[in-house]
């Protein structure tokens, strides 16, 4: 069972909180949830929305076409009405509102809505939209938000202007009412989120009145919860993952959609750990520094790494562009540093709060000169957590920068998962070749067969680093034979990594790999692909799914093995140039035969991926471009 729900409203009007309350209520009723958040690079006034898929089983994706569309302003209705299939909740008192009056809507969107309606013979008011929806068999429920608000205001004895923000709770209440679940879950969700008593009261009442304005239409039953469960968004998953992995130093410069990770850490800078000598539980400090820019952020983190601490930074495209030079220094000096890279829409400032997968080739090649780097990409919240630990292990073992991709689509979405999925106990530390008490003739860059030199930390003995080419001791050298030897030593580490890291860890497979069709994907589309696969399997359409988890060193052999001889290799990813497909071609010699691509800034919805895969598999469409999302 998968129920798709969407709520929208002006940024700053409490949409996030409402979606949180609604999600929490359903989670405590035993449901699994996947939620995606869309919002403008704006603080107040622009349109934002949350799309949730609610399921009795673990779910990894959302859908643009929804069963229930919950609105309380006119814009949300205008922006999303074409996506609703069953029920729309709208504000009755706005029926006369015209598209043209919604000043905070981008004119091109208004234009699009007006002409859509016009082509179908409708005017441009909320009423017209409702009429249109009814004609399509959608149940349009007009709720008397204003009346309810007035009632609540009277009851809680607060001015209407304060109570106003409760509007979205009415929408939540109404949505919840459609499901026929006991109101206790909703009430305690409200209590958990709004701590202040007055607000609890206000919102509880709004929610109840909302519930009362609708009939039960999608009756759900509570599900007994057996396992401990958590709700994780991508930013927090990485933050906790890094902390668990032993993070000592994190630098950052604010940037969407990365900074929430660091701000979370600032709020949790003291954490508990077990002192291995005494076995005692003690507190330690994770140093989190807000730098003056990303140049400073990356170089602070690299500096920190030289003292032997696990050091990281987090950023997105514009920030990483500025970090490029720093990354080359880490490459040259074999400094283990982790960069969590939240991909957002580029180029330049681009679309700061929208998603993308277009930075892959940039990152694989970022920085002048040749040096090893490791590039991994998480496909969901559990991987985001685990990869945060993996990244440190790889960085320290191979003494090289590791770039960990997490897209905006993962950062600002969340999953309800069973705690055990995180596999806390299975995650291990690998610090690589460390010398705590280096010998007197210690040479930081000793040439070895693997390319890996034993690493000592600043403070333990005399040692030298330089971004110039250097000898084994870390002193500047230009001699051509020293240059050659050091150059090769560094690049040999990538070959070592390629040999040591099981390709099975770098590629995950799902579904039936013996089928003639294989879908290849990476990052956030994974959830939509897997969930679409489940639905397509039910329709008798079968295929295998290959998720690329590491791009450098690229798992060329396994990819070749999995994909050779297939009839269709379908590349599903979020870039115009199909960059993972390019990587496959370049490293494995296997080129995708079909493409499902998207570059409009919105994540892939399960619905559109399903349709696209059908078109590819059944109709042999060579390339499907996805357009989903307001």
């Amino acid at each position: 069972m998968r129920l798709n729900w969407l709520i929208g409203g002006q940024q700053g009007s409490g949409v996030d909180t409402s979606a949180l309350v609604f999600g929490n209520a359903l989670a405590s009723a035993g449901y699994y949830i996947y939620g995606n958040r869309e919002y403008y690079s704006n603080i107040k006034g622009r349109h934002s929305y949350f799309a949730l898929t609610i399921s009795d089983k673990r779910v990894r994706s959302f859908s643009f076409t929804v069963d229930i569309l919950a609105t309380f302003d006119a814009e949300t209705l205008f922006q999303h009405f074409t996506e609703v299939k069953k029920v729309v909740i709208y504000n009755k008192s706005l029926e006369g509102t015209k598209v043209e009056y919604v000043q905070n809507m981008e004119p091109e969107i208004a234009e699009k809505v007006v002409s859509f309606l016009k082509e179908r013979g409708y005017g441009s008011t909320v009423r017209d939209v409702v009429e249109y929806l009814k004609s399509k068999g959608v149940n349009a429920i007009g709720v008397d938000y204003d009346g309810i608000m007035r009632k609540v205001a009277e009851e809680v004895k607060l001015p209407l202007s304060v109570v106003e923000r409760g509007k979205n709770t009415i929408a939540i209440g109404a949505s919840y009412g459609l499901l026929g679940l006991g109101k206790g879950y909703l009430e305690s969700a409200i209590r958990n989120v709004f701590k202040n008593e007055t607000f609890v009261k206000l919102n509880t009442m709004s929610a109840e009145l909302g519930m009362e304005s609708v009939p039960v239409m999608f009756p759900l039953k509570e599900i007994p919860v057996k396992k401990e469960r958590v709700q994780l968004d991508g930013n927090t998953a990485v933050a906790i993952g890094k902390i668990y992995g032993g993070l000592g130093f994190q630098s950052f410069y604010p940037i969407s959609p990365a900074s929430d990770e660091s701000v979370y850490m600032q709020a949790h800078q003291e954490v508990w750990y077990v002192d291995p000598k005494t076995g005692d539980k003690r507190k330690k400090t994770v140093v989190v520094v807000q730098a003056e820019d990303e140049l400073s952020a990356i170089n602070m983190a690299i500096g920190a790494s030289l003292t032997g601490v696990r050091a990281a930074t987090a950023t997105s495209g514009p920030g990483f562009s500025l970090m490029t030079e720093g990354v080359t220094w880490a490459g040259m000096n074999e400094a283990p540093v982790v960069i969590t890279y939240y991909i957002r829409g580029g180029p330049a400032t681009g679309q700061p709060t929208r998603t993308s997968q277009a930075d892959l080739f940039f990152v694989m090649n970022a920085g002048h000169g040749e040096f090893p780097r490791i590039v991994i990409a998480s496909g969901d919240h559990v991987e985001a957590f685990q990869d945060a630990v993996w990244a440190f292990n790889l960085a320290e073992r191979y003494q090289t920068p590791v770039i960990h991709f997490v897209e905006k689509a993962i950062a600002n979405a969340y999953s309800v998962i069973d705690l055990e999925e995180l596999g806390l106990d299975k995650l291990r530390a690998d610090r690589g070749d460390v010398l705590l008490s280096p010998p007197p003739d210690y040479a930081r860059f000793k040439i070895t067969d693997t390319g890996i030199s034993p690493r000592a930390f600043l403070g333990s003995t005399s040692m030298f680093y330089t971004g110039d080419e250097h000898n084994e001791e870390g002193h500047i050298r230009e001699a051509s034979h020293v240059r050659e030897a050091m150059y090769e030593k560094r690049l040999r580490k990538l070959e070592t990594a390629d040999r040591e890291i099981p390709e099975e860890d770098r590629v995950k497979t799902f579904g039936d790999l013996d089928q003639k069709v294989v879908v290849v994907t990476w990052g956030s589309p994974k959830g939509a692909v897997l969930d679409a696969m489940e639905e397509l399997n039910e329709e008798g359409i079968k295929f295998g799914v290959v998720q690329i988890r590491m791009f450098s060193p690229f798992p060329k052999n396994l990819i070749r093995k999995l994909l050779s001889g297939k009839e269709k290799v379908v590349d599903v990813e979020g870039s115009y140039m199909a960059q993972a497909g390019m990587a496959m071609k370049l490293f494995s010699g296997i080129e995708p035969t079909h493409y499902v691509l998207k570059w409009n800034g919105r994540p892939m919805g399960r619905d559109e991926v399903k349709e696209a895969l059908k078109a590819v598999i059944l109709e042999d469409r060579k390339k499907v471009v996805l357009h989903g999302g307001a």
Binding site: Q231, Y273, L306, T307, G467
Partner: protein
């Protein structure tokens, strides 16, 4: 064959030799534990300095303009280290000016030494930010079109709590200044007048020798802030003094204020465990098992 010690590849007569000697002696005289001393440098002739010391300190020769950032990461991860930053005037005040200014806001307990030679020496003598407008050292095709930045005034306005100027050929005086700067609790900067005989034929040894004088030689000169109320006045005085340039060029300490808390102290205030359990002093794993506990923070996420 034994590897030779590093050969200092500066030009004969270069002011950098003076800084090298003063810095090395200061470290020795302070009795610092060499392996705990980390010299972090930028890129330029100046930036090569850590490689040339004859005592077994550690050196981190970083990127052009970024030494302060590296130093910050090093010092905050392991506050038991003694961190000294050496950089050129181009390095610290041109490409690195943003870090230079923002470091003032943190007041981390470390020392920044500016090799102030008026040129981008290692790239063959272009004008650096401290070169004055109209100056035309021999490598410039035209007289310098930009005004100079005043390192003393800039440091003061940025919040440095120890601000001094030294002279590369006064090795002893410079050594004492460096010792004071290292001992100072907080962020210290010394702008060192460093003749570059190869490219800068204006600000030469001859030029400076007859102009520099020690602030301490002026009676009444007291740069130290001892009470919070004195702060504004002492800073303004230092500012005014920093404008003096011509027949007489003041060297010595312009301003010192230890009343401002260091960044490390501020962290401890927010996170008392930082005092002992700072990042470099904590083990994160035992036999591969991770030691950090996240149960409680995961609990916050429970649904």
């Amino acid at each position: 064959m034994e590897l030779k010690p590093e050969w200092s590849d500066w030009c004969p007569g270069c002011g950098n030799f003076g800084i090298l000697n003063a810095e090395q002696k200061a470290i020795q005289e302070l009795g610092l534990d060499f392996k705990k001393v980390v010299i972090v440098s930028g890129i330029g002739c100046s930036g090569k300095i850590p490689h040339f010391l004859k005592i077994p300190i550690s050196g981190v020769h970083t990127l052009h303009g970024r030494a302060i950032a590296y130093a910050t990461g090093i010092k905050l991860s392991n506050p038991s280290l003694e961190v000294i930053v050496n950089g050129g005037d181009g390095d610290l005040l041109g490409i690195g000016a943003g870090h230079f200014v923002n470091a003032g806001r943190r007041n981390i307990d470390m020392t920044v030494i500016i090799h102030d030679n008026g040129v981008y020496a290692l790239t063959k003598g272009q004008a650096s930010p401290t070169l004055r407008r109209g100056d035309k050292p021999k490598s410039l095709p035209l007289p310098n079109i930009s005004d100079n930045v005043n390192p003393i005034a800039l440091a003061l306005s940025a919040g440095y709590t120890f601000v001094a100027r030294g002279y590369a050929y006064d090795v002893n005086g410079l050594k004492e200044l460096i010792k004071q700067a290292i001992r100072h609790k907080g962020l210290a900067v010394i702008d060192v007048l460093q003749p570059c005989p190869t490219y800068n034929d204006i600000y030469t040894k001859e030029f400076y020798d007859k102009r520099v004088y020690y602030l301490s030689s002026e009676k009444d000169w007291d740069p130290v802030v001892r009470k919070p109320e004195e702060e504004g006045e002492k800073m303004a005085k230092a500012m005014l003094k920093s404008l003096e340039w011509g027949d007489r060029i003041p060297i010595g300490v312009f301003y010192q204020n230890e009343l401002v808390s260091t960044y490390e102290e501020r962290i401890v205030q927010q996170a008392p465990s930082y005092k002992d359990a700072y990042p470099a002093n904590v083990e994160i794993e035992k036999d591969g098992k991770l030691l950090t506990l996240v149960d409680d923070i995961l609990k916050e996420k429970k649904v």
